[in-house]
């Protein structure tokens, strides 16, 4: 199965290799936390994760073809 991962906000600056959306291929369904770690980031770093534009928790398991957006924490007003 494949899941697309997109970064938003400051996270794009910190992980320039992920500036463009990345497709993560996995043999079995895995959690959001595992997908974040698979792209080289601590699972706790994004403040929120959207799956197909809906907020999900780190233990959510996306389906094949879903899009995850990893949001940077709010940047201090």
């Amino acid at each position: 199965m494949q899941v697309t991962v997109r970064l938003e906000g400051h996270l794009r600056e910190f992980f320039p290799k992920l500036h463009e959306p990345r497709t993560v291929a996995c043999e079995r369904p895995i959690t959001v936390a595992e997908i974040i770690e698979a792209v080289g980031m601590a699972a706790s770093l994004p403040s929120s994760v959207l799956c197909n534009r809906v907020r999900v928790e780190r233990d959510h398991v996306p389906a094949d073809g879903d899009e995850l957006v990893l949001l940077s924490p709010l940047a201090g007003g």
């Binding site: 997109r6 938003e8 906000g9 400051h10 996270l11 910190f14 992980f15 980031m41 601590a42 706790s44 770093l45 403040s47 929120s48 959207l50 534009r53 907020r55 957006v69 949001l71 940077s72 924490p73 709010l74 940047a75 201090g76 007003g77």
Partner: protein, 612 residues
Amino acid sequence: MIPGYGGNILRIDLTGKKASASPVPEQWKREYLGGRGFIARAFWDEIKPGTDPLGPENKVLMAPGPYTGQFLSSSGKLHMGALSPATGGYGDSNMGGHFSLELKQAGIDLLILEGAAETPVTVVIEDGKVTYRDASAYWNETTFETETRLKQELGEAWQIMVIGPAAANGVVFACIQHDFGRQAGRTGVGTVMASKKVKAVAVKGTKDVKLHDARRTLAAGEKMMDQVMKQPGFTAWQPYGTPEVVPWASSQGVMPTRNFQTGVIEGFQNLDGPTMKAKVTEIDKGCTSCAIPCGKWGKGVLNGKEKPQEGPEYESIALLGSNLGITDIQAVAYLNGVCDELGLDSISAGNVVAWSMECYEKGFLSEEELGRPMRFGDAEAAVAMFHDIAYGRGFGRILGQGVRAAATHVGLGTERFAMHVKGLEISGYEARYAPAMMLSYLTCDIGGNHSRSWAVTFDVATGRENFDGKAERVIWLQHVRPLFDALGCCRFPWVEAGLDPESYVGFIEPITGMSFTWDELLKVSERVWNLTRMISCRHIPGFGRAFDNPPPRWVEEGQETGPTAGKHFTREQVDDLLNRYYKLRGWTEDGIPTPGKLEELGLGFCAEAACK
């Protein structure tokens, strides 16, 4: 004349009740843009060394920017400045709402309030014409009461800013309030306005602002509005506003808790965005032309008492919630409403009351001295103390002079946990093991504030123990973030919704006809940064590295709990951070801009004031 501006500096001498207008120098527009840039430039000329922050020679400066109200999203910001009674140095604060556009449409790019009236006044500005109303009868009224009164007297079309009892009674962290919940909160600009006996300023402007190319400005603005609303960050963030970050801040150990003793609060879930939306928020409330809008209007509740208020936003949740050991969002909203109506900066107020609670719990101050037991978690005690502060009663009068002065007054080692930088109470991020964020606080030109550089995510992403790249990042942020304050717009479409900051370059030419590259805009910001540093050099004897100091707590003890429990940097490591920062800035080892640096930035006129 360069378009995109109101055109004038309006100077109001309160002593003689005289007003005069003069054109803004064209060179200022090119070199300082507006807003914070104009404030800093005028500060240098207008406020002389030796000025008493509460004397008539201090001035309150207010400036919109070229982007204010010009079709782009979130362009209702006003910058204000004065010599700070809290720090003794450069002070400024930024406020949203609708005052800024009204001022610009009254033809004003810089408003200067100088001198002092004999008796309380409300200053009324209509298209640049100034009249005065006697405000004696309502001098000690709450902010909400006076704003309501003036809206009723003058009409809804007027935009009004007011001070509350805190300013009237000399609290050094009193704010200016506008639109029932927007604040110029930091550095005591409200206190300076009160020292001039100005209770309120009302403005109405009906003039057109000429643009270089209105069609292209409108097209760029429409495109931006569309982009903002399509951003995934907008979807996630807008329903909650800044409280959205609460769970992240607590999980990373950066949420100040019980006077910064730790950075993790049990029960943070009761303070987060969804809880606030469910229990407090009634409607969204925003500034001029904002597609986002982040403001949330609703009711605070404490023991059955209700208080309508705007917010609380993240900083208030951190300082009035976790930092006071309170995890009931309705109670935090109530406290926020109390601070707003009294005209207290909720950041400083939460900080000083947290310090008093730690003093009480550790036996440095007694119930008799404080007027009541001050325990963490006791929201009623906090409400009572906010009133004591605002009305100058009992120990509240001491706390009203700021945490630095209060700790000096009490002594007994309580200075070790007085959480301030340069005399300004630290805002909502616990940073003892976050080097870039700590450096942001230490070098912020107004003192312990987050708004110039917010670098916690960078610390977490690149390693908290790692110093490499931290000073570079802080400097970059200190140029980018305040640029928005010079342009007169809000940075949330960038920092929260995720727009590319460089996209803001595209507005400058259609609005003003001036051409700037992104790097040239950042150069303006660097100029302003060095100028504000020189202003503090000029006003604070011995100013330099010794003023870029962390509170002892941050270099002597680790957090009690959380992911970085027990960890902190040493004074030597902090010195290392500062050395790297000063070197990159082209400053001396004592943190003073060199004459060469000042010349390079077109600031040769302040070289002579380098600190002795």
